[in-house]
Symmetry: C2
Subunit: 381 residues, 2 copies
């Protein structure tokens, strides 16, 4: 499957949750499959912290790797491109084609750097809404994503209840925990600590790769599980038979982290890492409300919520909290906890088990429409 | 309780596990209570990663804080100074009075820096053995510690079965997991990434405080638990009513980590952090053996092993692994998993519950002597 990244620029300013405005903005996006005649088969895939618009397929036959979720998006896969029209865009604040802190601010002719406004998951969704208007898609069959992608799916359901028929939320949360904030903050501190960061002003000099690599290593620990690390690495030494008693790499797990950290700096902008982790930390659908259930009072979409047993970044209990709030609102929600040792990364890796769930769920959404199920009583609304 | 740190310097060289030698070495130590006439009431307390010889009491009435385990060491406490003679020393490789990378190498007249040899938990114990010889204590009533202190207690039991009557191992492990190694490695990478680190050569210039602070923040996340973070901080904002949409501190948990990180740099040497985390990572009593149980084949001491339910750095399963191995060797071992939300830090905080356990255990050791219990059959030895 050969795909091409497309770009659209909006002249109107985006009004941000903080009160600031941002614009003009450009969004990078890709589409897969065909939109049907009544424009009713579109699914929006939202990416996680380090993802981008390139979900599946390759840009050229010679590409070494396919898109980040190629296992789940394609003909016959969890998100079947033979049936559905899949859309994916890089979030604002990102560094993979959409407007972010590394973009040129047209008002100054220089990269935004830290003058880029702080954004939220709500702002990312607002930009996606502009993209859907541009593509003339009145209502999505579904919006889905894992991790931060799941936050966007939840935000869609809350912000635009009439524009989505369903949400598929994977390995995610409706309110980011203090432990997750703590990991994000330490990652940011690692970037701030790199003198090359220079308060975000480094686009004409050396980027803070050392700090960004440390930030990414911290992230990777949270994406795996204790069990998967034992399976994958154990205490195996890296290309040696016995301890070298030196600070060079001794253990395979060290080698893995270092590789992941340094390769990440080749494709990601440190300032984007700051802005996107900040957006994650702010995410709390219950913010300012009297109850968690209240956050979901206006949603109309069907929900498939999937958690992964060994995910300790956004653990199953946080998915259950979402489902409980939906049920309290008289909504129809399907919840599955997939048994997996892969930790948070499971949402990317357990594609076959996901396919079994999405196929049935999407077929039911197509057939039965939105919540509430026919004849159901939704007293609480 | 006013105490004084004492120092002893050994002229003989310490032969290290790596094959290198180190010497002369100085050890900083403190003692509490009185040694009885037959020198049989001595307990050695081993400290964790960032601890030191100053376990309890104050150095001066005006000290703001008492020693790091004052809750557990003193008259009538878990380690009762009315009954026992408590000894504690700073580990070699440390920076709190014992010889470490920041010490002057007498052969060059300059600080060791990275020319300091890589050390192990076994080497720390060897230095402590020299201290006990110096104090003329033939056999310890007990050796104890939490976290890395527990590793030293285990190592004592294995290396010097005839010199300890019991070991009390808290929140520890006999083989450090890949996840724990991963956190240590990222902490080290944060230090390496700080240009002020300068390959360990910074004693005449600015120390790598930014990197060390990030390292410490990573550590602190692993010392708390998800539950304790929810209780202690939740998503509470730091001295503000609503989001500031800025990179300054927003959440209380961020403020906590930053404070912990920066205050740590006032009292700890970055190179010591590197050497001590490395010693932790190497720790695996089963290294090179055919079974885990084999590691404990020569031990003779009684064991009290305590884990804490929410400790995810050295989780209860790793304590159970130790106890299982002891039982497989026909040994007598008492195992308690204390229900606590405090995470790894629980070993420091749950001092009262610990006191209930140590009182009975130590009394029994005094009365019944070492393993095996009288009449028991130790076929496997």
């Amino acid at each position: 499957m050969i795909v091409k990244t497309q770009y659209v620029t909006f002249d109107q300013e985006l009004k941000l949750q903080s009160g600031a405005t941002l614009g003009p903005i450009t969004l990078a996006y890709e589409t897969y499959g065909s939109l049907n005649e009544d424009r009713s088969n579109a699914i929006l895939i939202c990416h996680a912290l380090s993802g981008d618009a390139h979900v599946a397929g390759k840009h050229a036959e010679t590409d070494r790797k396919a898109g980040w979720w190629d296992e789940a998006v394609g003909p016959g896969k969890a998100f079947d491109t033979d049936k559905y029209f899949i859309i994916s865009s890089n979030v604002i604040g990102g560094c993979r084609g959409s407007t972010g802190p590394g973009s040129i601010n047209p008002k100054t002719g220089k990269p935004y750097g830290l003058t880029f406004p702080v954004i939220t998951i709500g702002d990312m969704v607002e930009a996606q809404r502009m993209l859907l208007d541009h593509l003339d898609i009145p209502r999505l069959l579904s919006v889905t994503g894992g991790s931060m992608g799941g936050m966007q799916a939840l935000q869609w359901a809350v912000s635009y209840p009439n524009r989505i028929r369903s949400a598929i939320v994977l390995a995610s949360t409706a309110r980011v925990s203090p432990q997750a904030i703590a990991f994000d903050e330490v990652a940011r501190q690692a970037i701030y600590a790199d003198p090359s960061w220079n308060h975000g002003d480094y686009y004409q000099s050396t980027p803070p790769n050392a700090g960004l690599a440390v930030a990414r290593m911290i992230g990777h620990i949270t994406y795996l599980s204790d069990a998967s690390m034992r399976q994958k690495f154990g205490r195996r030494l890296q290309e040696k038979e016995k301890f070298g008693y030196e600070f060079a790499t001794e253990f395979a797990v060290e080698n893995y982290l270092k590789y992941r950290g340094s390769s990440f700096t080749q494709r990601f902008d440190a300032n984007s890492y700051l802005y996107i982790t900040k957006a994650i930390d702010y995410f709390d659908l219950s913010q300012g409300l009297s109850s968690f259930a209240e956050a979901f009072r206006k949603v109309k979409s069907r929900f498939l919520v999937v958690s992964y047993s060994s995910d300790w970044l956004y653990p199953p209990a946080e998915s259950e909290e979402i489902v409980r709030a939906l049920l309290q609102n008289g909504m129809d929600a399907t919840y599955v906890e997939i048994q997996s040792n892969y930790g948070h990364d499971a949402f990317l890796l357990e594609a076959e088990r996901l396919a079994g769930l999405t196929r049935d769920f999407l077929a039911r959404v197509e057939k039965e429409g939105v919540n509430p199920p026919p004849g159901a009583d939704r007293k609480s609304r």
